[in-house]
């Protein structure tokens, strides 16, 4: 029960040269910081379908014991925790489990708004290895909103029991973002997951997310709309997605754009997180 994820790192580091270990983030000590989220350097969001063991991943990383339920809708509010790796502190935000980011139910909106306006430094999408296809629908939607994504392929043990082999490397190649196999309940793969998250945040791992291929007329419409949105809300990293939502007649996004909420939330986020503001300013400068 009490063997932290660092236990995995420790046992592995015993096998390799100690000097290499210092340099390699995968083998750095993972410190689980519970609810102490003050002064975090980075924000990491945890998204995923219901029932993928998302809360188990959250608990394994933070050392918290948020109740894990084997049914959808267990986490209806945002839970926050923290962990530290190689001297950096990470705030982990557990989002409600959802199947998509398209509909207007409140749990989907919480997830969507956080990804949109919370602008996390990295988003971990926890997927169920036994039902990858269905889970990828959400992954692809998240990839439309943000490109700093790590896919956590959880429940690898159950997939094996069900006679399914998941080729995580092929998955990672196809999606254009790192994919990490895990068994969160027994904390397997957690060390690799956090070091991958750190590598994505630090820019050591470059992502080039797969964009959903839409029929030509849809792509044309998106291309016609996205630049206008970028002009109106400078610094918005996902104008393409907003365009798609507007084409779909998403009332919530329409309102957000019309009332200036989209701009305001993007602004507020810049002020609230000084660590991020420089990056966003840099983005503005580039435009």
């Amino acid at each position: 029960m009490d063997s932290p994820a660092s236990g995995i790192a420790d046992s592995r580091s015993a096998l390799v040269n100690a000097a290499e270990c210092q340099a390699c983030p995968a083998h750095a000590q993972l410190a689980r910081m519970g609810v102490d989220v003050a002064g975090s350097d980075h924000i990491v969001a945890l998204a995923g379908n219901p029932n993928t063991g998302k809360s188990s991943v959250f608990n394994a990383l933070t050392g918290l014991r948020q109740h894990v339920g084997n049914w959808s809708g267990k986490t209806v509010t945002r839970a926050e925790g923290a962990f530290a790796l190689s001297g950096k502190r990470y705030k982990l935000v557990d989002l409600p489990g959802t199947y998509s980011l398209l509909s207007a139910s409140q749990d989907e909106e919480i997830s969507r708004n956080f990804l949109l306006f919370g602008q996390p430094d990295c988003t971990v999408v926890v997927t169920d290895a036994t039902a990858l296809e269905r889970n990828l629908n959400l992954v692809l939607q998240v990839l439309e909103i943000t490109d700093r994504v790590v896919v956590c392929v959880n429940l690898m043990d159950e997939a094996e029991r069900k006679g399914l082999a998941v080729d995580v490397r092929s998955l990672s190649r196809d999606l254009g973002v790192p994919a990490v196999p895990t068994v969160a309940r027994s904390k397997q793969g957690m060390a690799e997951l956090v070091s991958t998250v750190a590598a994505v945040i630090d820019g050591e791992v470059k992502t080039s997310p797969l964009r959903v291929e839409h029929p030509a007329e849809v792509s044309d419409a998106i291309r016609g709309l996205a630049p206008l949105i970028e002009d109106l809300v400078p610094g918005l990293p996902n104008a393409r997605w907003v365009a798609l939502r507007l084409l779909d007649g998403d009332h919530r996004v329409r309102e957000a754009l019309l009332s200036g909420e989209l701009a305001e939330l993007a602004n507020r986020q810049r002020q609230a997180a000084p660590a991020q503001s420089s990056r966003i300013r840099a983005l503005e400068g580039a435009q």
Binding site: R65, N70, L164, L232
Partner: protein, 461 residues
Amino acid sequence: MPADAQVILDRSDTLRSELGGSFRDRMVEALYQNAQRVASRSVRATGAGKWDFDQRVDRLVTSRWLGLPLMLLLLGAVFWVTILGANVPSQMLASALFAVEGAAAAWFESLGAPWWLTGFVWHGVFRGLAWVVSVMLPPMAIFFPVFTILEDLGYLPRVAFNLDWLFRRAGAHGKQALTMAMGFGCNAAGVTSTRIIDSPRERLLAILTNNFVPCNGRFPTLIMLAVIFVAASFPPAVASFAAAGAVVGVVLLGVAFTLAVSWALSRTVLSGEASAFTLELPPYRRPSFLRILYTSLIDRTIFVLGRAMLTAAPAGAVIWLLANIEVGGAGLSTHAIRALGPLGEAVGLDGVILLAYVIAIPANEIVVPTMLMCYLGGSMMMDVTTYEQIRAVLVDQHGWTLLTAVNLMLFSLLHNPCATTILTIWKETRSPRWTALGAIMPLAIAFLVCLLTAQASRLLL
């Protein structure tokens, strides 16, 4: 800025009409195709698995004929284990804590402390705490872990599956069965969990009716009454089964009220059609027992007990003050009990019970402790700790009948939600109107139902 935004919206409207009505379908289709392509390249079936096992179990527990009876059997078993296991530790705790009260009070007196200080601290605050701990701790420490095992196995979504058609018929959302299940733990949590329901109309139905499933603050009341009054009228061999059956009966009645009130609301103030949804039946998972013990004991039992103790201490103080501040030759509580008496009698309860419910508005957990303190307060009956002794006092000295017990169970099931839940309803709806309805409607139903059973039993018996 807004002008620009309007330009963009107009442009998107034009583009949307050019794209035609099937845009959403084409977009989702593209998404699914992409997902399918990626998945097909990375997932490979290696051969036989345990797939069959899950499906076979599911076919059994969600079958048309066996699903519901199996569910009742499981629920009954949970209560039975709780009743069987909680009785003796409850009595031991009560004896021990009241011995402490007696010894400590005597010690205060020997130190020359004034009577009111001894009374306030030990016969007020401490006694309130002692009742809460002894009445609530043992059932919770058994009920929560057992219930959590069912939850962890993945049984709850099957319950929702089994009950879906009933909720749909009541004009409510099938997921309301899940929010209802959350309500067994805590109604405030149940109200929050309604966020999983998309449609505002169906969400309101789920919020307004969540109170009709007894939360764990009310289970100890129900269990105690079932043991004292129902089990006592059966031979010892089957007494515990009868008590468990009675609690299951009350829960079923709660579900019936949930459905009936949902039905009535969805045909009046909240009219509309039930929306369709997909419910995933997750794979069965081996529960990890250490975590269950931790979650159910620390997160739930200690949390709920802590909350109960936080309200029990001031409640104990209030009761002691009410009993000992005399106006016109009698304690304030005597006046209050006398004033509430006629209303209580009319609905088959009494003044003490109604006073207990007024004092227990912050938390349902303290209803029984408050009641017992009012009943036993004046006397020096420190040694009333076993269920038989409690029964004797209630029946012989305070005129309780089977009707009182049955109506108290009904009132406990149906009455207004606790202050925390009312606050949560307000937070979730942000509407004073719905909050008021959520608080007053159950109370009115509770009085009405108790009035009907009281009149009926007086006519028939």
